[in-house]
Each structure stands twice: as structure tokens, then as C-alpha cells.
Amino acid sequence: MKKGRTVSTPAMRPGIDVSPGPRFLAREALGALIDALRGQGSSVIGPTVRDGAIAYEPIDGPDALPAGWHAEQAPGRYSMQHGGSPRQFAWANGPQALKPLLFAPRESLWRSARDATGRLAFEPVLPAVRPLAVLGARACDLAALALHDAHFMPAQAVDPHYAARRAAMFIVAIDCSHPADTCFCASTGDGPDARAGFDVALAELDEGFVARSGSERGAALFDGLHLPPASADQIQAAAAEVQAARLSQRRHLPSRDLQAALTARLDHPRWNEVATRCLACGNCVAVCPTCFCSREAEHATLEADRAEHLREWDSCFTAAHGFMHGTQVRPDVRTRYRQWLTHKLATWHAQYGRSGCVGCGRCISWCPVGIDLTAEVAALLEDAP
């Protein structure tokens, strides 16, 4: 639905409070931005190179950023190279989205205690939340964040764990200028430029950043940094980079609602074919910024009178996911892959009003056998009008 947007200057983007207009942040001033975020009491999380990949980690200053690094991605492949560029954000996403910062991979929901008479008491375990500023969030991950907001914070049933972390998060987005070969956010309408859901968004140029604010907190941060207005040339250059990034994307998903088309093909032979390649390892789920399944588990402690109730990320590729008192709803890889893909691209529309795919391409890069969901969809829809 967002596909086909014309490229606009940042000042024309809808839904963003741009007053008083884009500013310019010199590269040398990035440290001052990080200091300002820390001055607000936030821990700053930013991209850094860890184990040969970009990861979001606590950073002290701009030196931790992956200056000069590029990441090559292809189905089943992720490889980092260092070049001579001064740019700190000239890479597409690594395996980790914002997801683990808000939806913890493993956390305690409550503790229970049993007293001498056998009576139970339950105590909620809420996360000890510190204000967190994320530097370098990508458009795809912001779109995923909006989907998780809808899932974890519906008005009638707010998840207190997610909500507490969410309220304490300040987001500095970075427009994506170097999409990977696996990226297709332009086709899902979610990128490559950050459109909503940020406090500040930056567009990287060689000499620094065109900065726009997306919230009052973001605007206040600009005021504190005394940033000069960005020049028309800088704004133009940033828009051109976004446009180039958009055009460089080779993969795509059909932008229309695939609900009817995919649910009409639940018995398509392609599901059998992909099941011969899929290892059901769940890597795609782990790196997907929108996958939200979790399992719950009770952990008894060594003291027999205390126990803890945990929730941890789960995957619809596991046998336990579809287990139901002695029967198995999804007994084979075919039905598990189909569940994953049809939930993401079809039934998600009914649940949350849009597709559950934001075009980040992680499931393609991090699939050990290089299954490409855009290719799978194309094969499934081959006979479609």
C-alpha cells in the first residue's frame, strides 16, 4: 500500500514533525549526540562489530561504531569487509533487530513461593528498566517495532514487560544507504528511509548526517546540540542516496495483500519441495524482527519452596510448538514452513492489518541452506494471474 511512494525530501515526509527543518550533524559531532543521550540518563546501544557481524551493543562513543565496514549478504551467507570509507553506517542489518531489546529472549514473568502450610504466593517479576537510546535503528526494524507494539500492547492486554522497556526507549534511526543483496524493504513499503517511529532520524553523507526529528524529545535533543540547518544540497544528496538504495534492491515481495492468494495454495506442491531443503532449525524465526512466539516454562529452584515462571522465544519449527495432549498439529517440516510463511505473509493481515514481513531479508541471509522467501512466494504464485 505504501509502494510507489515518490521520493520526497525529508521535509515532505508525512507523519513526521520536521519543524524546524532538517539539521546538519557533522561526523565529529556524533560523539556529542551520544554524550547528549547519555546525559539524559540513557544507556546507548549502537551497532558494533562482534563475531564477524553487526550487533547492537552498549557503546561508549563513536569509536565503537563500525566505521568503514560493509556487509555482503546473500542467501545463506553473511560476510563483513573493511574498506576505506569514513562512513559508520554503510552496511545493511546484521542478524539482530531491536526485538531482543524489548521482547527479551528469556525472562522471568513471576516467582512463586510455597509456605510451610503449603499455600502459594505469586510475585510478578518486572524488568529493571533503564532508559535506553538506540543509535542506528533501520526502517525495517522500526516497522517491525510498530508490529510488536500492536502485538504486545493492545489496549485491553498490555504486556507489562514489553511496555516497560518500550516506554524507556529513545530511537535514533539511520536511513539505509547500503541495502544488502537480500534486502527488499522497498517492496514491502517499509524502507530504506526511516518514516515513522523514531525520535531522531539521520541520513549519512560522507561529511556527516542530515538529521530530522520525529518527536518532541528528538527536537529537544537538536536544540541542545545547537545543530545548524542542513543545506539544500545536503538534503538533496540524502534523498538521492535513499533513492539509489531503493533502486539497488533486486528482491521483492508482491506489495498486495497475499492472504487470499496464499490460503488458496495451501496444498501447492512447492510446500513439499521447500520441505526437502528446510532444516526446521528456526534460524529464520530467531532473526526475524516480527516473529513473536514464546514458550512458557516453570523452573523449580534448589530450594523446594520457590519456583520461577519463565518465557522464552519459541519457534513454530519445533515439534513442541504444535503439540497438543498427545497429538501434533504440525507433524512435518512441510506444515511448519507453511505455518511460518502463511502466518507472516497471509494471516498476519487479518491479525494486524498488514503483512508481518518488513523486508529486512534476515531470514534469507541467516538460513543455513539459503531458502529465500521471496523466491518461495514467487514459486507459489507462479500460476497466479
Binding site: W110, L120, T263, L266, H309, M324, V329, T347, H349, Q351
Partner: protein, 284 residues
């Protein structure tokens, strides 16, 4: 405590301590626990509808989704009929009066009684553990004058699987109440039909005005629905209770999805037209 109290007015995110007041052994491996919430305020505020379920927790072991079989007019005593099958239910089977459990709930959509009241009601259940309909049958029988005919059709695999034989015999004695039994495998003195539960439909006076409540294996429900629609029952008059893996109880953990539906939140009782597209789709 404050944050959870604010987000969780209904005891959904945090279990409520409760105590087993009564235990009834219904059949080998099948038992009923009647539990009461320990906290007087929680006890006073707790309300449920027939067809809803609780997450019943065993200390140090885990939780399991169990439908509520007791009468919603007496929400202070919560009845659960359980079959000892897995880790948690086998542990719950050890409980005796005075033992403690955790209760989260109630969750989900129950039987839409407002759409059933005043009508002739057909209840079709198959297999063991069809407790979701026991609660609503009792509900109707306790308010007999508010409903028309009540026809209960119960199928089991083996004749000896039938629990509550006396209860069925008693129901049969009540006015405008019929009970039909079927077992795939019969036994000496089996009072019912030997064969599929849906084979009984030819012998029952099924009228198009009936409200139908279904619970049991999906293949049984699909067969029943096909026959009921052929007999002129309206699709929107058919309600069915679905079952899936449930862990959180309120549409977060993702296990119970059938297509776009979160069974724990949008169900477990669905109007047939709402779930028709996904019913019987293997793998969902």
C-alpha cells in the same frame, strides 16, 4: 505489584493462589477439582462464562489450559474436570483437598448463551474430555424453563470410556431432555449405539431452528456440521469449541493460532462461520 495490578485487573498475567476444596474421581485417570481462590477480593471479582478456561498451575511444574465445568452463577467455586495425560495434569491428579494451585483466567470466548437461550439446543460431543460442553449442559439443566428441547449426543471410542454414566441416565429422566450415546467399540450392557456419533443423526429429530454446540475431534465436528447443514440448521446457529496448545492464555505466545485466529482469545468457542475456512485444515 502495582504495575501488574494496573495492567492486569483480571488475574491474567499473574496467577491467583487457590486451594482445592473438593476432589472427585470420575473414572480412571479422570478427576474433578473444585478450587477456591484464596484472596477474598479476587474471589469476589472472579466471573466466568461456560466454555471459558483457566490456566491451572502446579507449583514448580507448570500450567495447563483447562475448561471450567462449574456453574457461572457460583463463581466462587471453580470446577475443573481433568484427564491425567501429561506432566502437569499427572501432577494435578495427585492433589487432594487442601492442596494449593495457581489460577490464571478466565480466558477466551465462552458459549454465547444469549444466542442460545429460548431455543432448542443440540449438543454433540465426541471423545473423552469434552468438558467444555458439560458446563453448558449443566447450565441449561439448572435453568431448564429458559430453554426448549435439549438433545445431548455423546460419542466415545470405547464403551468403557464413557464417564458420568449415571449423570447421563439422570439427564434422560428430565423433561424435554434426550440423551443419545454412541461408541465406536461397544461392550456388554452398552445402552447406546455402536458406531459413529453422527450415525445417530438419522434417528434424532433435528430441526432447523436448533442451536448446536459442538466439541470433540475436528473430524467429528466437520462430519456433524455437514449433516446438520444438510438438515437445514443455519451455519450461524452452530458453535464449536476448539483446542490447541495454549501457554499464555491471552493471545501473546502464538502457539494456539489456527490461521488468523488465536484460539485462546478469539475462541475457544467459535461461531462456525468464523472458523469455517480453517476447520479441518491439517497443519493449522
Amino acid at each position: 505489584m502495582m504495575a501488574t495490578a494496573r495492567h492486569d485487573p483480571a488475574g491474567r498475567a499473574l496467577p491467583m493462589p487457590a486451594t482445592v476444596l473438593e476432589r472427585v474421581d470420575e473414572a480412571p485417570g479422570i478427576f474433578t477439582l473444585r478450587v477456591q481462590l484464596d484472596d477474598s477480593v479476587q474471589r469476589r471479582d472472579y466471573r466466568f462464562a461456560s466454555g471459558q478456561f483457566n490456566m491451572l498451575g502446579l507449583f514448580g511444574v507448570g500450567e495447563v489450559a483447562i475448561s471450567i465445568v462449574s456453574d457461572p452463577a457460583e463463581p466462587e467455586l471453580i470446577g475443573h474436570t481433568i484427564r491425567a495425560l501429561g506432566r502437569v495434569t499427572s501432577g494435578l491428579a495427585q492433589l487432594q483437598p487442601g492442596d494449593a494451585v495457581g489460577v490464571r483466567g478466565p480466558f477466551g470466548r465462552g458459549w454465547p448463551l444469549e444466542r442460545i437461550v429460548g431455543r432448542n439446543v443440540l449438543v454433540v460431543t465426541g471423545g473423552l474430555g469434552c468438558t467444555p460442553v458439560v458446563g453448558v449442559i449443566n447450565y441449561i439443566l439448572m435453568r431448564r424453563s429458559q430453554f426448549g428441547r435439549l438433545v445431548v449426543v455423546q460419542g466415545v471410542k470405547h464403551a468403557q470410556d464413557l464417564i458420568w454414566r449415571e449423570r447421563y441416565a439422570y439427564w434422560r429422566t428430565l423433561p424435554r431432555t434426550e440423551v443419545w450415546l454412541a461408541a465406536d467399540v461397544g461392550a456388554p450392557l452398552w445402552p447406546g449405539h455402536v458406531g459413529r456419533v453422527t450415525e445417530l443423526f438419522d434417528r434424532i429429530d433435528i430441526t432447523p431452528d436448533m442451536a448446536v454446540l459442538l466439541c470433540g475431534p475436528e473430524i467429528m465436528m466437520i462430519t456433524a456440521i455437514r449433516q446438520l447443514l444438510a438438515r437445514g440448521v443455519a451455519p450461524e446457529s452452530i458453535e464449536l469449541s476448539m483446542e490447541r496448545n495454549m501457554q499464555c492464555g491471552h493471545g501473546v505466545c502464538g502457539h494456539c493460532q489456527i490461521g488468523p485466529h488465536f484460539v485462546c482469545r478469539d475462541g475457544p468457542v467459535f461461531a462456525y462461520p468464523a472458523i469455517a475456512d480453517w476447520l479441518g485444515r491439517k497443519g493449522f
